[in-house]
Symmetry: C2
Subunit: 507 residues, 2 copies
């Protein structure tokens, strides 16, 4: 079904501008807006839909992207000649636009797996974790014994998944690096989507098993088992022992069923990777609309990728529920400034000349492309990487922008679903939490249809509004949380995408 690209996109009813979907000539009638375009507007650029007074804030996706440097008439081009960031960027205005959430009643529901302690899972795996790279192969060999028909007596177990990594030794035995690794491993060990977890170590690594268990407050038991290769007596004996322990877990792991639970048990990690010029106007705002629906239904969404909001943290501090929550973002931004300085890198998220040619005017607007995934509701809390997410609603977790590292932190924090927008076409998948991939444009969706779950390019094609796309994503979130496999799950992705954030010297 071919449709013509619409003339423009309205991202939010409260916006002062709409986005030209193709070059607009002076005199073009933006019918639904009741506005006549006053001058030539390049594709991707902004048109004012009402008169904006000098010094007034300009909103896109219901967030401030800058201030008018002179009066702007309805129909005028809004760009660097009449829009700038100003003091906004020096004023965190903590909580200034925070609004309590209007909750849906009754809330949406899904079919979840309720654990003995009341936590709700969206999948039911057994996980094999490694303390160190030195035990990675043994962990994989244990899991390999449960491929094929090995689980046919345990139809409620989704699989036995090895999640291994490259660090765990050659690192300080105290400090930020090992703290983050331990938090990440513990977050997975505790994840509701694992019915049982076996952690395998070598024995002499810096990331000692006892210290991992003790510092993270893990409790070994029938469904959380630990062992080392050196204690077992080498590879063959360790694999045999690991297989034995997993076999012991299987009957209990299989004793689950899905029941109707409220959407408040969904925690979704928001990701974008391989973004393109459409990310900020299709998939990211659509995902944001879905997040607003999820939050109104009691659920939780985690925005991350700190380097991609750098310089526009003000977009989030204003939405904070309290000054203390807003300040946590500012603190993490300062941490990043120090980190990149010592790594001889640089934090710089300013629009490039290419960004500006494409219609992005200010750093706020550029970052809004990433922030839009988080919708518009209040920011309820801020977490360091891989820390347990306990608040409900929209929250932020500090992570790098690099997809597998960012998502690993979110899942460690409890995300039981990932929503991942992509323009260039990522094939990312996750375990133990399913990951939905949202295409920003139709050509890529069609080219990579076996990897994409939803085509947000339809927004640009004119067959779907941002709000409609958001509703479709929210519906698929509920279905996926209820057990419907995502495209990446059908392919089997997820074992090699577990990448804990590596910080500190490799010694």
């Amino acid at each position: 079904m071919l449709r013509e690209t619409p003339l423009y996109l309205r991202l939010n009813p409260a916006d002062d501008v709409v986005i030209a979907c193709r070059e607009l000539e002076a005199g073009t009638n933006l019918l639904k807006e009741g506005v006549i375009v006053a001058e030539r507007i390049p594709a991707g650029h902004k048109v004012a839909t009402k008169a904006i007074a000098k010094d007034a804030p300009v909103h896109r996706y219901n967030q401030v992207i800058g201030f008018a440097t002179r009066p702007i008439a309805a129909g005028a081009h809004v760009h660097v000649h009449n829009l700038e960031v100003r003091d906004f960027a020096r004023d965190y205005a903590f909580g200034e636009v925070y609004q309590p959430t209007q909750f849906a009643n009754p809330p949406a529901t899904f079919q979840g797996i309720v654990r003995a302690d009341g936590r709700v899972a969206t999948r039911n795996y057994i996980g094999i974790l490694s303390t160190v790279n030195c035990s990675a192969t043994v962990a994989k060999y244990v899991a390999e014994q449960f491929r094929g028909d090995a689980l046919k007596e345990f139809p409620n177990v989704d699989g036995v998944v090895p999640l291994v990594h490259t660090t765990g030794c050659g690192m300080g035995s105290t400090g930020e690096g090992i703290d983050i690794l331990r938090r990440t491993l513990a977050g997975y060990a505790r994840h509701a989507n694992f019915a049982g977890v076996l952690i395998i170590g070598l024995g002499c690594e810096a990331n000692q098993m006892d210290a991992l268990v003790f510092t993270q407050g893990l409790e070994a038991g029938p469904l959380l088992s630990t062992m080392t290769i050196q204690d077992s007596g080498g590879t063959a004996k360790a694999v045999a022992e690991g297989v034995r322990r997993v076999k012991e877990m299987l009957p209990r792991a299989n004793q689950v069923s899905r029941t109707t639970v409220p959407a408040s048990h969904i925690t979704v990690g928001l990701q974008c990777g391989g973004s393109d010029g459409y990310s900020g106007i299709t998939a990211n705002p659509a995902l944001g609309a879905a997040v607003d629906l999820l939050v109104r239904n009691g659920g939780t969404a985690i925005l991350s990728e700190t380097p991609e909001i750098y310089g526009a943290e003000h977009l989030l501090t204003r939405r904070a529920v309290s000054k203390a929550v807003g300040q946590k973002i500012v603190d993490r931004i300062h941490w990043w400034e120090e980190y990149t300085a010592r790594e001889k890198g640089e934090m710089n998220n300013n629009p490039s000349p290419g960004n500006k040619a494409g219609g992005l005017t200010t750093i706020l607007e550029k970052s809004l492309g990433a922030v839009a995934k988080g919708g518009t509701t209040g920011l309820m809390d801020v977490y360091e990487y891989a820390k347990p997410v306990t608040a409900k609603g929209f929250v932020f977790m500090d992570t790098p922008g690099y997809d597998p590292v960012s998502a690993t932190g979110q899942v460690a924090g409890g995300a039981n679903l990932i929503c991942f927008t992509t323009g260039r076409g990522s094939v990312y998948g996750c375990k133990p939490s399913p990951s939905l991939k949202l295409a920003t444009n139709t050509p890529m969706f069609q080219r990579m249809e076996d990897d994409m779950d939803i085509n947000c390019g339809e927004i640009l094609d004119g067959s779907l509004s941002v709000q409609e796309a958001g509703a479709r994503i929210f519906a698929l979130m509920l279905e996926t949380a209820s057990g419907k496999p995502s495209k990446s799950e059908m392919h089997g992705f997820g074992a090699d995408e577990f990448v804990p954030w590596q910080l500190g010297a490799v010694m």
Copy 2:
């Protein structure tokens, strides 16, 4: 066959001391040394075997470990009360003890695979590399299609190996971090042990395929193929395309045979991991003796693990063939000081109180435990991580001490064999280069016999001298290079132990 632990060990005929294997009472007769022990010597500590003048250097494993602070009589305990480092540690004495190698004539030989360009392989794999974590799973899926019976028509192909990693994006597109990653990937892409290599990218990663190929001077062709998932149109099509390309390589890859070639075509990477109190007196000196044999037969051995020789780089600078080569080590040491300072870590390889109680007196002696793997011949060149090793003889490559990262750099540099000493019991294995594991003690060897290739603990048991153990290791090097599988190869290790050194901020 039970033997009694010998009284003491002589590590090198030129040494001024021997090592007590158990506590020695005053009056004990060290028969072969013609020395009577003058006072109680704890196990692991040193006894002088001749009179040492005040200020004279004291040698262990034919290397200076310090200077006598007073006259030391034959039979006396040598430790902190009469031995110290002094000016030695401030004088690199470049080349002072360098001696040209006395080559064996004729040299030892092995059965190697001679490539069209004259390089010699010890194994014959096809490799599947990924530019970025985002293509890791597709790389693995391609390789999985060649498990089981899939290669039965190609009996000379040892396997199709996926070597994937966790980085390649969320990093600067220039700088030290990506330089090292590209060098590492290119070193593997060029490795003689790969008959053919397929490199798979996602498409939008920082580590762009074109830049990888161009900056590293790689030449695509029938046996070096590149592709991206985005160009292929997603996971399923990329896997199919990758399988097709590997199938095209197989007939040519199978056209190999082994012929007799000189040992000069062996390049061995030296590793130790999970070291213990015996490493420095059994497996490491034994490996050093084997390296001396390899070097005299024209081969190359790469010592690495810079943090473990820190503070005792003087042991190497004195052996350097030239001041320029010695200076390269000093430069890398300064790089490490800067690196660990910015990572809030610390370079400190001084003997701890526990080390001293165990008999290690000076930082030179402690580091000698690691350096001993490198034997006693001249240091012919020094390389940065993953750079191609072109010199013959004993060389140094700057790497972290962390085993998988260190060995990955050595293999990227061309190592076609790894020799790995271990006391606690590592199960490390490598692809595409076989890895031999040398146990430092008999109890661990017996406990983990399916992972250990040689028991250097026999040196302590009295059934083997250091030189005899070295000859045994050298013989097994030749056999393994000729195709005999190592223990870790029988287990199938190596795909998850490919860990390029990650430097720089994760963004």
